[in-house]
């Protein structure tokens, strides 16, 4: 009786190009919109996970290995697998308006801010589950 598909929930995408990738729900459109008359949400996920960083890596190597490639996508709820994990990353600017993904350059700009937030979260070492690849 508790709604669990809320912003901040970590989910795994089940379909599409990014199937098997972990993402975090940024914004939920419970009743859908006119273009998408079904429940869906905006997720920000990891297209490329950061590589494993070991202690003997130099600073330059660590920086290179900690890079992530991010994606933003509007996904139907049926194509997500929710998990018990949450990721409380401040992605409010990403979910700025309903047209955050309208034009290509807005999408690219939003992706860049999402990438920064996710990278700094990875560097703190928290939410380690989110940044490890799901093996299947």
């Amino acid at each position: 009786m508790v709604k669990f598909l809320k912003p901040g929930k970590a989910v795994i995408l089940l379909q599409g190009r990014f199937a098997g990738r972990k993402a975090v729900i940024v914004r939920v459109f419970e009743e859908g919109t006119r273009d998408r008359p079904y429940g869906h949400c905006l997720v920000a996920g990891l297209a490329k996970y950061p590589k494993k960083v070991i202690r003997k890596d130099s600073a330059k190597k660590t920086a290179k290995k900690s890079r992530v490639k991010c994606f933003l996508k509007l996904v139907n709820f049926t194509h997500l697998m929710p998990t018990r994990y949450t990721l409380d990353v401040d992605l409010k600017e990403v979910a700025s308006g309903p047209d955050a993904l309208a034009t290509r350059d807005k999408k690219v700009a939003a992706c860049k801010t999402a990438k920064e937030r996710l990278e700094e979260r990875f560097k703190t070492g928290k939410n380690r589950w989110f940044f490890t690849k799901l093996r299947f």
Binding site: M1, V2, K3, F4, L5, E30, G39, F77, T78, M81, P82, R84
Partner: protein, 111 residues
């Protein structure tokens, strides 16, 4: 009778309660709609047949754990569950949205 059944009386109780829900309450039958009701937290009780595929069973149980919705494992397979619902088809999982006059929600919290 399989030894896992508690007593004959309590299984009959479930069937009777289900009958009452079918008559007076709201419910959905089938995996896809059960997941839908779990996602939007409309479901109050989920009932799974005992021959539900284990992956599907764990998936529904996981969703129910996230949404704090109770799951009941029916003592019977999907054919029996369909009959208990008064339908002429097999039902593997069903979700009770509104129990109507029945008290199935209060008296079956067993996981």
């Amino acid at each position: 009778m399989a030894p896992t059944k508690k007593t004959k009386k309590s299984t009959d109780n479930i069937n009777n309660k289900l009958q009452l829900v079918m008559k007076s309450g709201k419910y959905t039958l089938g995996y896809k709609t059960v997941l839908k009701t779990l996602r939007n937290s409309k479901g109050k009780l989920i009932i799974l047949a005992n021959n539900c595929p284990p992956l599907r069973k764990s998936e529904i149980e996981y969703y129910a754990m996230l949404g704090k919705i109770s799951v009941h494992h029916f003592h019977g397979n999907n054919v029996d569950l369909g009959t208990a619902c008064g339908k002429y088809y097999r039902v593997c999982c069903l979700s009770i949205i509104d129990p109507g006059d029945s008290d199935i929600i209060n008296t079956t919290p067993a996981q």
